[in-house]
Every structure is written in C-alpha cells, then in structure tokens.
C-alpha cells in the first residue's frame, strides 16, 4: 500500500546513493519536482535511466548526481542540445558519465521486459546501425521457429521509479492519461515507486480501462501541484516552452548553471518555493 507523504520524505526513504533510478515521462508529466529534491538531498553515483533525458537529467547530471546514464535521445526538445549532458560526455564535467545508448524502440521494449519479469526484450531493430558497435548490451538472437535474426536488449531493472501523474485517491491509487510514455512500465520494472501528483481526490472518477497504478504497486504518493513544470500535465497546465528556450542559455555556461541551481533548487526548501523564486527571477529579467 502506498504511503501518502511529503516528497522530501519519499526521496529520503526510497532513493539511495548508487541506485539505478528512472524519472520517466515522455515530454508529458516529467517529474521535475522529484528531480529537484534528488539534487537537494545531494544523492550521488546514481545510474539514471530515461528515454529522453530532457532538462531534468541535464540538471541531475550537471550537479554530479549521476555516474551512469541509459538513454535513447538526449536533446532539449524543440531547442537543441542539453549542454550539461554534453559537457559530461564530451569533457567529463563535473565528472565522467558512463553512457549506455539505445534507440527509443529498444529502450521502450527493455522497459516492457522489466515490467514483464523477463530478462530481455526482442525487437526487429538496430540492423545497420553503428550503435551496435558501441553498446555491448545490443545482441542478436535467432527465432527458434523461422531462424530469423532479431535484436535483443536486457530488461530495464530499477531500484526506484519516479513518475508524475494527474491524480491519486486517498488510498494511493494513481491515474494518468494523455501521452503515457513508458511510465507504467517504468513503475512496474522497479522495486520502489514514487509518484508525485497534481491532486489527491476522494474518487479517481476513472473511465473504463484507464491507465491506473493500484496503490499496492506504489511506495509513496506525494501531492506536488505543478510538479512537472516546465513540462506539462494534461488537463492541468501546458508545457512552458519559453523555459525550455531559456534553459539553453542557463545550461551553456557552467557557472551560470551552478548559480541557477544554487538559487532556485539548493536554496529553496521545496517545489513551491522554487516556483516563487523562479517567478521573482523572471520578473527581474523583465524589468531588465
């Protein structure tokens, strides 16, 4: 049964140095508040898994929380590079980052295998791609019936999965909708699951066959309204595209990045305060 608790408590209890962790959400429902809390608690040596690292992993990697990254597309969507991620890969700053690189199809299948209790996933993919030369976790097997060669990747197995969802009820059952990404698979591939939600309600009012994580597969539910800003929560708020654009400037420079994280994350108590300080910052900028 899920505990309904604060995000600070949840991260303290459920994420440890050296863990393999996925904070998932495919452009939608990205759990930024939880990512910030991991930075605040200065977790180290994490192996981070995520199809699209996005700004959330640019922040974690830039602050040195991770020594490993498993991913399939590492850009700033609609803008360009993730400068902190590039700095870590190209120049080992703040320290070297070991990467395991896949295609979306392979990593999505690897999450499915993890959720299914299988050790590996099979897909028709990777033929002719140089990724095969650089990732020893891409192998090939033959169909036992047709002999056809297919690609295989190991299942994603997580210590902790972290996702953001629209709603939970008071028992800790979680409902999400819209772009679902691989959140359900990530949660079911993990030993521990943290879910931040926009609101906690008496009744989920779910429709038939809704995407629900029952309370008994969730470790902690934390009510963090706006917790996926600057990404979006379908039915609650839109993606904040200007922030994604501004991030390019913030993350380009090591010192400016460090200062931004200091002021907006390390020096704030929680995500509410982060939002307040961020608002002050942008007002100041508008005044020039």
């Amino acid at each position: 049964m899920a505990q309904i608790t604060s995000l600070r408590e949840a991260v303290k209890e459920l994420v440890a140095d050296g863990d393999t962790v996925a904070l998932e959400g495919f452009t939608h429902l990205i759990p930024f508040a939880a990512g910030h809390e991991i930075i605040r608690q200065e977790l180290e040596r994490l192996t981070l898994v995520r199809m699209t690292p996005d700004l959330i992993y640019d922040q974690l990697v830039g602050m040195g929380c991770a020594t490993g990254l498993v991913f399939s597309w590492g850009g700033n969507p609609g803008v360009g590079s993730l400068h902190r991620l590039r700095d870590a890969i190209e120049r080992g700053w703040p320290h070297p980052l070991e990467i395991e690189e896949h295609s979306h199809a392979a990593l999505a299948n690897a999450y499915v295998a993890g959720a299914s209790g299988l050790p590996f996933a099979v897909l028709r993919g990777y033929s002719g791609s140089d990724l095969v030369k650089h990732n020893p976790n891409i192998r090939f097997i033959n169909c036992p019936f047709t002999g056809e060669e297919l690609a295989a990747v190991p299942a994603v197995k997580l210590d902790t999965a972290v996702i953001h969802a629209q709603k939970a009820d008071r028992r800790g059952n979680v409902l999400l909708w819209g772009v679902l990404g691989v959140q359900k698979e990530a949660a079911l591939a993990a030993r521990r699951v943290i879910v931040t939600v926009e609101e906690i309600v008496d009744d989920l009012d779910a429709w038939p066959n809704a995407c629900i994580l029952p309370s008994w597969v969730v470790s902690a539910v934390c009510c963090v309204p706006g917790g996926s800003f600057p990404s979006y929560a379908h039915g609650y708020y839109d993606r904040n595209n200007p922030f994604y654009q501004q991030w390019d400037g913030i993350a380009r420079d090591r010192d400016r990045f460090r200062a931004w994280v200091q002021r907006h994350i390390l020096d704030t108590a929680d995500f509410d305060e982060f939002r307040r300080v961020l608002a002050e910052t942008s007002e100041a900028e508008q005044r020039g």
Partner: protein, 262 residues
Amino acid sequence: MTGADYDTNEIMTVTASRRLRDGAVCFVGIGLPSTAANLARLTHAPDLVLIYESGPIGAKPHVLPLSIGDGELAETADTVVSTPEIFRYWLQSGRIDVGFLGAAQIDRYANINTTVIGDYEHPKVRLPGAGGAPEIAGSAHEVLIMLRQSGRSFVDTVDFITSVGHLDGGNARERLGLPGKGPVGVVTDLCVMTPDPETRELTVTEIHPGVTREQIREATGWPVRFAERVTDTPEPSRHELEVLRDLKRRTDEAHRSDAVGR
C-alpha cells in the same frame, strides 16, 4: 508567382508535403517533417494519418507541436497509446507507409547520423542520439528525409550511422534483410535528391526555382551527380503558402502566450 514570393524553407516544406499521398500512414519526426506533414494534411491529403512516437495516432494538430509529445497532439488524435505500443504494434508491425525524418548529417547513400560528430568515444560534438529513427528507417515501407543542405550536413560518409539508409549502396538493405525500402527521397532547401535505381547514391532529380547546379555542388560534401532528366521543382501555390503561413502564425501566437514562471 515568382521565386521572390516565398523563402527557401517554404519551398522545401511545400515540396516535401507534396510527396505525401492522401490516406498514407506517416510516422512523423518533430520539426521540419512535422510541419510538412501537417501542411499536406491541411491541403491535398486530408486523410493523411499522422503518428508521433510519443503515442498519438491520427493526430490533427491545429498548431505545430514544439515537442514530440505536446498536448495538442494527444487532444486531436484518434487515440493515444503508450510509447512501447507505438513502436511494437504500429511501427515494427510494418503498418507505416512513410517514415518522415530529419537529420543532422546525411551521406551519399542517405545514411543518417544524429549521434556524434567525430569519434564516438571522444566526440567533437555530441548530438542528441537515435530516438525513434533507427527502427523507422528500418521498418517504414518508405523513408522521406528533409533537411537544409550544406557541405557540413551532406557528407561523403557519415561519422556514425545512427539510422540506416542504403549503407554502401546497391542492394545492401536487402542483404541485411531490412523490411522497408529505405530512403526514397531527400528534400532540401535547394533541391530534391533520390537514390539512383542501381547504385542507390543520392542523385539530384529536381532543382528548386532560381537555384543553380553550382550552388548544389558547393552545398554537397561529395561530387554530387545530377540525373539525366532533372526537372524544375514546381513552385508553391498561393494556397499552399497561405495554409503554411497561417499554420506558422497560429503556432507562434499559441506559443507566445506562454510566460516563464507561470
């Protein structure tokens, strides 16, 4: 109309959009392909089915998405499935007619690099990576590619094959047993290239109005060949340009309304 009435992005987008037939099922990359695909849907191909890797099937966005998973795509789609399902039930299953991709770097056999410039272990420039492209390039019945042309983006051999085109040419794809036909066209701001029927080397088959062969040679990192019959790209119609500009205006307005901190 004369060439002065539209810019190079516009003729690139219109030309690419015209290659999408009505009723086709198109797996769309974000950016230029998404713009051209939606232009096609709003002009000659109202029943073009747009699938985005984030899960929307049959998306009909009123404004262009800035990210592959914008809410606009989910709200206007026939349905939204999980990302694993998109890749398993919809792409890998061979249901996609056209995989529509962009690229950072492409070579003479239409192999695509979106991974690194330089050596993989010690990259000069680290690019975002594969995303959905390797399996789109492998499984879609046909692949259409769209990018601006320059000596840096059109190279003799890519530093890294992220997504397979025609490899070293000829029947290399068949030998690899790839289900899809691979790239059938590359649309740029200067011209249209198609793979030579025999060698599969990208060859110029259409030149945009006002563009010279010299410009194309200078913007291509290999001694580019021109087909025996090279045609002039038909100019964009007034209607196509109006629809494209309306779409961009709506998109800009929609996204201007955002403000950081809110």
